[in-house]
């Protein structure tokens, strides 16, 4: 785990007039030494590769700042230390991600085929093949519905909080309550939406749009919070310049403030979608489960991928060969892989939109 610092941006390289500095290749050098030093106890005590990487990482984290302390003094040492720590954080976070993705791809790939993606689970004979098409459609539509409800409300509410109601008691309460909303357990949101729709439309109500409503309860706080933070960071100079040109406030917000914050807002919305696209509990209650493909959010049951994954995993059926994988387990992992791919694609599209429309600034 030899951590190498990336070459810093030339503009932010502190220019040292008087201070001594470590040579540029110092991190690499210490890395090599750390790996070699770690090999000694690892080989002696017969530890594994993981332990080697850990020990080498730790040695590097300690040795580089120590050297820097001698040559550059305590401030330089602190700087080296933090650099090492943030890069270590990155590596540590990537380990579970890789393990997770590997698990999902490894177990999910086997299930994926053209029938898996284009067939629903509607069968008239037990020997027929099944697929997840109906759940794919359900997930896309219900999530789209949730986004259509929560993105405008969320962004407009954030605009109110930052541009209009700043400092007012109402705005303070809204900000506070939005934070509280983030802690609503998803199943409570589902129960709420379920009770609401039963109350309004009778006990037999199972609607895709009900799922969208439940999900938007979970999405709104993420959209509001992230948008609010991004709007807060739009420099006041930009607004003032626009006002000075006689542009009305609302046009200033639409033409100047929102575009400036667009990158962050898009990230927030993507996060919010990713947050809810995998929800199970609320959707099972209000959107139900069906084997057929349903394109209408406003009528009848709709299956979504997470619900399908959950139910297939809970009742996987029996394997065709003794000791083999039960069919439900294969469907569950295949569905999980597809779900991750969908969100990945959404993320990519959002980033592209963000990159195209965000104004080009120094960053």
């Amino acid at each position: 785990m030899s951590v190498t610092t990336a070459p810093a941006r030339p503009t932010s390289e502190p220019v040292a007039f008087t201070q001594a500095r470590l040579p540029r290749l110092a991190p690499v050098l210490v890395g090599v030494v750390a790996v070699a030093a770690a090999a000694l106890p690892v080989l002696l005590l017969d530890w594994g590769l993981v332990a080697w990487a850990l020990v080498a990482g730790l040695v590097h984290l300690v040795a580089l700042p120590a050297w820097a302390r001698v040559v550059e003094g305590p401030r330089g040492a602190a700087d080296r230390m933090v650099t090492g720590l943030v890069w270590a954080a990155c590596l540590v976070a990537i380990v579970p991600l890789v393990s997770l993705l590997y698990t999902v791809v490894d177990r999910g790939m086997a299930a994926i085929s053209s029938t898996f993606l284009t067939y629903s689970m509607y069968r008239t004979d037990l020997d027929q093949e099944v697929g997840i098409y109906h759940a794919l459609v359900g997930t896309l539509l219900i999530t789209l519905g949730a986004a259509v409800i929560s993105v405008p409300i969320g962004i407009m509410a954030a605009i109110y909080l930052i541009e209009y109601g700043k400092g007012s008691r109402l705005a303070r309460w809204i900000t506070f309550l939005v934070d509280v909303m983030t802690g609503i357990p998803s199943i409570v949101a589902g129960l709420f939406a379920f009770s609401l729709f039963i109350l309004l439309f009778g006990p037999a109500t199972r609607l895709g749009i009900g799922g969208s409503v439940a999900l938007s309860l979970l999405m709104i706080p993420v959209v509001v919070r992230s948008t609010e933070e991004m709007l807060r960071l739009v420099p006041a100079d930009l607004r003032e310049a626009s006002y000075a040109l006689g542009v009305p406030k609302w046009r200033t917000i639409v033409k100047v403030v929102l575009p400036t914050a667009l990158g962050g807002i898009v990230t927030g919305v993507t996060l919010a979608i990713a947050r809810v696209v995998g929800e199970t509990a609320p959707l099972l209650l209000i959107a139900g489960l069906t084997t057929r493909t349903n394109f209408n959010l406003f009528s009848e049951r709709m299956t979504t991928l997470p619900v399908l994954i959950y139910t297939q995993n809970a009742n996987p059926g029996i394997a065709e060969t003794p000791g083999g994988t039960p069919p439900g387990i294969a469907i569950a992992w295949g569905g999980a892989l597809v779900l991750i791919l969908i969100v990945m694609m959404l993320n990519l599209v959002a980033r592209i939109i963000g990159a195209i429309f965000a104004p080009k600034t120094g960053h």
Partner: protein
Amino acid sequence: MNRTSFRKLLAPSAAALALSISLTACGASNEAGAESGGDSSETGGLSGDLNGAGASSQEKAQGAWATGFQGLNDGNVTVNYDPVGSGDGRTNFIEGGVSFAGSDSYLTDDEGELSAAKERCGGEDPIEVPAYVSPIAVAFNLEGVDSLNLDADTIAQIFDNKITTWNDPAIADQNPDAELPDLAITPVHRSDDSGTTKNFTDYLGKASDSWSYEAEDAFPVKGGEAAEGTSGVISAVSGGTGTIGYADESQVGDLSVVSVKVGEEYVAPSTEGAAKVVETSPAAEGRADVDMAVDIDRTTTEPGAYPVVLLSYLIACQTYEDQAEADLVQGYLSYIVSDEGQAAASEEAGSAPLSASVAEKAQSIVDAISAG
């Protein structure tokens, strides 16, 4: 600032919308044939949607039944079953949200559910027929031991944390041939409420003297290893060492299972043994003619019977206001209790087909479902 207009955003949004609309145009490949084959006079002749909800234990079997029933009616019927759990299923049924419910325990008046169900069915007694019988296996993971013989007392003490090592004399006496290690026993139970737990604890309570707890959906003993769902228990038992747990027999896979003492013999879990115990168990007291609720005889001495079973019911009304709904419920429930339906569930979900006498009685009850 470059000139950024939100109008520009319209283009990709419109494209996305167009994409989703074009997606809307094509249904799932496998449904196309079924949808267009509209000639409904041939076989079952029914059409429309039938909705049910309830026990998740029945989900896979419901899938098999729905498939068979849809086939009988040429794909003009869709059966939807929401596996929301027995409690929610019963509530949905009582509120009129679904036409039938699946439940791991029969209706009682402890919280007024039986009366409420009667009210929902226009004052007539609700129908309860057994539909899904599954043997519950006591599965364990112990290196070098492939099978164990245990009586109810020993199993109860293991799950009550009274017997804590595998070489305990109580276990060793019943298994003279097994090489039992000096290893701690880790009992694994369900962390979620389930009919499986209720039936298992009911068995322990009735068949042994050492179990002092009531039969409950939630596992009554505090502490110990707990896991969510059947798959969670299986995963925990196979992932640990010296573990023992209870789960549907069809799901235990490679794990070794305990043979349970019935009378003087040790019986391994089997679908036949499960069906047999349901057949020989007495009906619950004070129930209507159309209500086949039984109190499983956990202390049976019938040879070959396996008393650790989960029995799951279908709950429906005798009459429905709507003719189409009545026809669908009648047709579907008749199919479920038929030999064909039971065989389909056995193939898909590993359940025990109902024995002939039970199936016959159930058939006569559900055949009488009508509109009125």
